[in-house]
């Protein structure tokens, strides 16, 4: 516990950590200020007009559905511009993921319900970068400068020292990320309430936002653990940065290009970025260029889906392997 206290103080006192926090606050302030400047409280007339437009749009969707059912029943003859799917449920407004709302027809108004997810993605992206860089530099700088050696002269238990550092990093990062994201969303919620529009903020909205937030926090912790592990293995912060840069250039760009040239099936399955996207957004769809080969009969839906489950398995597996390797290497390593 004493070790964790001391490590927490060292972590928060690091200039790099302080700089990243300041950068986050600046980005936060700029985003909030531009949102404030670009939004206004909708007038009663604007709201009324938007409500009417939304209602008209819903009515039009219902009419399309009714016409589809009528065409299928043979009571109405289809016209040239009519879209008649195999199953009219496809155009049933009741089954649509999202119906037009008042907020969709408000121009120049910040709508919290619409903007919350993209804003949260931005925050998560920043925190992932923050976590990775802080995780890598925290141990990298200590290994490089001899700080770890100093600590081991006091506590000659290598796993305990490294574990305390990793635990402090992840714990501190989780608290910081939770507080930052809560403050961030609260500010934009207040903007929506005061100089914008809250939009449709119901239980399912908060549940969806909460799930996205939870997945984002896990990703932040995984990024920090991976940065920490690679820097431990490479004994330097630059090792983590170099590894990520090399991976992106060699594999995500180079290998993807080669796989495309070779016409390999489902190349996205081999890319970490696919699993990262799947985890963060719940699921992602990719085009399978082999699925429709030889299908000349008509419509072929050559898509395949990656869900959050394989996304989590791959990212967690990678983090566990790297952290395990880092601990194993650190236990046996000569600290000179």
């Amino acid at each position: 516990m004493n070790l964790v206290r001391a490590e927490l103080e060292r972590l928060t006192a690091r200039r790099f950590v302080q700089l990243m926090v300041v950068l986050l606050l600046v980005a936060f302030a700029v985003t909030a200020a531009t949102t404030l400047a670009g939004s206004h409280k909708p007038s009663t007339e604007e709201l009324s007009r938007a409500r009417t437009q939304a209602a008209e749009q819903i009515a039009q969707l219902e009419a399309t559905h009714d016409r589809c059912l009528a065409i299928k029943a043979g009571t109405v003859q289809p016209e040239e511009h009519d879209y008649v799917p195999k199953d009219c449920a496809e155009v049933d407004p009741a089954r649509m993921e999202k119906l037009p709302t008042t907020a969709d027809y408000l121009s120049g108004v910040f709508v919290f319900a619409t903007e919350a997810k993209p804003l949260l993605y931005f925050l998560v992206a920043f925190l992932v970068l923050f976590g990775f860089l802080v995780g890598a530099s925290y141990i990298g700088a200590d290994l490089n400068s001899g700080g770890v050696v100093n600590l081991l002269l006091w506590r000659p238990r290598r796993w305990a020292v490294l574990g305390a550092k990793l635990g402090t990093l992840l714990g501190g990062l989780l608290v910081f990320s939770a507080v930052a994201s809560a403050a961030y969303l609260t500010v934009f919620w207040l903007i929506g309430q005061t100089v914008g529009h809250p939009g449709l903020v119901n239980g399912s909205f908060w549940a969806s936002l909460g799930a996205q937030h939870g997945r984002g926090m896990v990703l932040v912790l995984l990024a920090a653990a991976i940065g920490f592990a690679i820097a431990t293995l490479g004994r330097h912060t630059a090792a983590a940065l170099g590894t990520v840069a090399a991976y992106v250039v060699v594999w995500e760009l180079g290998a993807r290009l080669v796989l495309q040239i070779l016409d390999a099936a489902r190349p996205d399955r081999w890319m970490l970025s696919s699993y990262l996207g799947a985890w963060l957004s719940g699921e992602v769809e990719f085009w399978d260029n082999h699925a429709c080969q030889g299908d000349t009969a008509g419509f072929c839906e050559g898509l395949y889906t990656l869900t959050w489950r394989p996304g989590l398995a791959v990212l967690l597996g990678l983090a566990v392997v790297l952290v395990g390797a880092a601990f194993a290497a650190f236990r046996r390593r000569d600290l000179i």
Binding site: N2, A6, E9, G147, V149, L153, W154, R155, P156
Partner: protein, 339 residues
């Protein structure tokens, strides 16, 4: 006497792709007993720091046994680490922290009462500069801080690698006094240093390492006595006649421009009587005792030779080892003559 540090047959080799295998410590032995101020000497690259790092669990030994305060190292080192204060080479501190904060964090991490921080700052002379950031410290001040960190635990055993590094003359004297007062209070000190005069002044025991092996150990006076050739520097009015008389009396005499050196004489009266009986009066008679520096240079084969740059690995490896690469001093001298 209780053994505080015991090292027997320590082996350590480093491997690298470019340079292959490099033996750093090759069957080294060390014994430090309770209450000693033990000097640990060796040329650059001789294995001193590797030995200390292995003892403190920072590098893995390839062979041999080590124990600290009765606990085998590194396996049981955590059991005694609270009683061992150590600095190895020049420790690095977090530049943005003040000295006080640095020590307080170490105290917190090590479970030491933070009240010790002020005590050790006072001891090493950093009390008035303790609120300054470490990055603004001079090398000597950083060294004082390092010693303070080692003292924080109120250790029974203090292992200091080059503690006088960067200190000014007054600082070196203060460090010497500190070591003495610690030893007087019962702390055992293992001190590695290149300042041989300091070691001779401070330490009661010494171990000398060369090319990873022990070449001398024991009480400082005993080690020096082993190299005492009982030489005397003599000044007389008629040196040529004095040489004849002393040689006739069976003494080995070497003529120098300003004086004679008479070797192999235990009692100085023999010289004065031999010369005095023939009417030659001795103007000056000085005993030439070996100092630690000359013994060190001889034992490690690192005596500088004019116009022959010495390489860091050019020290002597003790004979009797299968891989003996004993430095050939004769060859070096011949090389010098050729040059």
């Amino acid at each position: 006497m209780t053994a505080v540090i015991e090292i027997a047959g320590l082996h350590k080799a480093f491997h690298s792709l470019r340079q292959g295998r490099r033996v750093a410590v090759d069957g080294f032995d060390l014994l430090v007993e309770s209450g000693q101020i033990h000097g640990f000497l060796g040329p650059n690259g001789s294995g001193k720091t590797t030995t200390l790092r292995a003892l403190l669990g920072l590098v893995r030994a390839d062979g041999g046994r080590m124990s600290v305060l009765g606990a085998s190292s590194p396996e049981r080192l955590p059991e005694v680490s609270g009683r061992v204060g150590a600095i190895v080479e020049s420790p690095q501190f977090f530049g943005n922290f003040t000295a006080r904060r640095t020590l307080r964090l170490l105290a917190v991490a090590g479970g030491v009462p933070t009240s010790r921080v002020d005590e050790v700052l006072e001891q090493v002379g950093l009390r008035d500069r303790s609120e300054e950031r470490v990055k603004g410290y001079s090398l000597g001040m950083k060294q004082r801080l390092a010693v303070a960190s080692a003292l924080l635990k109120n250790p029974e055993l203090l292992i200091l690698d080059e503690p006088a590094n960067g200190l000014d003359p007054a600082g070196i004297r203060e460090m010497r006094d500190l070591m003495r007062s610690l030893a007087a209070s019962g702390v055992t000190v293992l001190l590695s240093s290149h300042i041989l005069a300091e070691i001779q002044l401070i330490c009661d025991h010494v171990t000398i390492i060369s090319r990873g092996r022990r070449v001398a150990y024991g009480r400082v006076d005993e080690v020096l006595a082993g190299f005492d050739q009982h030489e005397w520097q003599v000044r007389v009015a008629e040196p040529e006649r004095a040489v004849e008389l002393l040689a006739e009396a069976g003494m080995a005499v070497t003529v120098h421009p300003e004086h004679l050196v008479v070797a192999g004489v235990d009692e100085p009266e023999l010289i004065t009587r031999t010369l005095g009986e023939q009417g030659l009066w001795v103007r000056e008679l000085i005993p030439l005792r070996p100092d630690l520096e000359s013994v060190f240079l001889e034992l490690t084969g690192t005596t500088p030779h004019p116009a022959v740059p010495r390489q860091v690995d050019g020290s002597v490896r003790p004979a009797g080892h299968p891989d003996d690469v004993v430095i050939d001093l004769d060859a070096r001298e011949n090389q010098e003559v050729d040059a």
